[in-house]
């Protein structure tokens, strides 16, 4: 009956556009940008979008802790039930939503995701946030922005702008889930682009 949660990326070949050190540097810069924009770590809540946004949010929190010596609140926000393409796909099991105990009301929420593409996931995330509370500000941090937006949505903090053809695939692998860190771009068939 229910479709299994398939979070694993296909074992695609492809061109590595970011390696582990590039990813680390990009996240360091994003962490500093977030702090600069927020004028410090006060009232920050980092919410990762499952699956790979969650470890990214944790890494950003670690980097902020290293700089500021303050643990900022980190959580996870699942948007499965808010997607506009639910009806078009076999049912997916929702992931864990984990809102920090202090909540999001009046906070600066930074949504963290791996790839920004159509913008539809972020649209769903904004709806999900609305049911959970009323943040003072919502910002968006992504590791890769590959373009092809279908909605008026943009990221505040971008690790790398990666121009891509719509048919190409961008795969983000993270050590916490995939055993290693890299961002790979490949053609639609999984070959080298």
């Amino acid at each position: 009956m229910p479709a299994q949660t398939g979070a694993q990326t296909d074992p695609v070949q492809g061109r590595v556009v970011l390696d582990a050190r590039d990813i680390s540097r990009a996240l360091s810069r994003i962490s500093h940008e977030i702090l600069e924009r927020n004028k410090g770590p006060e009232d920050l809540v980092l919410l990762g979008l499952p699956t790979r946004g969650v470890p990214l949010a944790r890494r950003i929190a670690e980097k902020i802790a290293a700089v500021e010596g303050i643990e900022v609140a980190v959580g996870a926000l699942d948007v499965t039930m808010y997607r506009d393409d639910l009806r078009a796909n076999p049912t997916r099991s929702p992931h864990k939503t984990d809102i920090p105990p202090a909540g999001i009301d009046g906070k600066t929420v930074v949504l963290v995701d791996d790839v920004l593409f159509s913008g539809r996931t972020i649209r769903a995330a904004l709806d999900a946030l609305g049911d959970l509370g009323r943040p003072a500000t919502v910002r968006l941090a992504v590791l890769v922005d590959r373009g092809h937006r279908e909605l008026p949505i943009r990221a505040d903090h971008v690790g790398k702008n990666l121009p891509s053809a719509r048919s190409e695939r961008v795969g983000v692998r993270l050590a916490e889930i995939d055993g290693r860190d890299e961002v790979v771009i490949s053609d639609a068939n999984g070959g080298v682009a």
Binding site: M1, P2, Q4, D78, M81, R87, T91, S93, P94, T97
Partner: protein, 310 residues
């Protein structure tokens, strides 16, 4: 799988998936805004041809929290009491454009029969003395939350087994999840042919509550269904309580951390003493809140995605 008619139709993986989703749904109950948009635009009809408070309101809340439009029809006061057949009744409501049909009926097999007549997703909310799959799922889910994995754990199911669809669904669900099940009933309320069935399904039968209770990791008391009895199953209520009720004395012999379940409605003083129903180890109210989460999970998995071919 398109419908939920019997626990037998579910694989262990299906049950696990339903539980994982239910755990997420459980968190929604604690939110201020108890609403998810997953079933927006879907219509679910609850057709209850038998009395029910908790199951019907549980399905209704579950549907509404998922943003489905939920309509209730009860047998009494519906056109069936004017002599319309079940087939005509369900075809009529489905012709209105219903996506999901939650059905409770006094005849065993009613839900499966209905699923062959209609295109809508059919969920069995109890058919006669046959099955009540969402109850079994919520019971197992509640026990797992208390005990962790049910693998190798010993669950005692005690009471009126003959008339119990809860027992029939629960035996299947618990054994699928690896639990050891012992069912206990007075000889008159033990289903006929249980011996060959228990051998196939891998559960034990007993007539002696007092020897089973001290070993149980969890105990499930079943309601004495007097409305289904035409008398003669036991001499008096008092005698039933002395022989098979979870009395204060028996409560003391139970493991102190063994959860006590009851699918409700409880006959306090008959199959379960007030001391047991209100004991710290009683999970009766956890079962009710788990019921909403499980039914949200079932509705979500059967109705949210694209139409799958059955």
């Amino acid at each position: 799988m398109k419908h939920l008619l019997s626990i037998d139709d579910l694989s262990v993986d299906d049950i696990r998936t339903l539980f994982t989703t239910a755990a997420e749904m459980h968190d929604v109950q604690r939110r201020q805004v108890k609403k998810l948009p997953a079933l927006r635009g879907r219509t679910v009809i609850n057709m209850f041809f038998e009395d029910s408070t908790r199951t019907r309101s549980s399905f209704e809340i579950a549907g509404k929290w998922l943003s489905a439009d939920v309509i209730n029809v009860s047998g009494k006061g519906s056109s069936t009491s004017k002599g319309e057949s079940l087939r005509d009744t369900v075809l009529t409501v489905c012709a209105m454009g219903v996506d999901g049909l939650v059905i409770r009926h006094g005849a065993s097999g009613a839900a499966r029969q209905v699923s062959e007549w209609v295109d809508a997703v059919v969920i069995n909310a109890g058919d006669g003395t046959h099955e009540h799959p969402t109850q079994a799922l919520l019971d197992a889910y509640t026990l797992e939350r208390r005990l962790g994995s049910l693998e190798g754990r010993h669950v005692a199911i005690i009471g009126d087994l003959t008339h119990s669809r809860v027992f029939r669904s629960n035996v299947q669900c618990l054994t699928k999840l690896g639990a050891q099940v012992t069912v206990v009933a007075p000889p008159t309320l033990m289903p006929s042919g249980v011996d060959s069935w228990s051998k196939d399904a891998g559960f034990e039968t007993s007539y002696d509550v007092d020897s089973v209770l001290p070993q149980a990791d969890a105990v499930m008391m079943l309601r004495v269904q007097r409305e289904r009895m035409s008398g003669g199953y036991f001499p008096s209520a008092r005698e039933y309580t002395v022989g098979y009720g979870l009395t204060r004395e028996r409560l003391a012999r139970l493991k102190p951390d063994a959860p006590i379940c009851h699918p409700g409605p409880m006959n306090r003083g008959l199959e379960i003493a007030a001391d047991a129903a209100d004991a710290a180890q009683s999970v009766v109210l956890d079962q009710v809140s788990a019921g909403v989460a499980i039914r949200m999970s079932v509705l979500y998995h059967l109705l949210a995605g694209e139409e799958t071919t059955a």
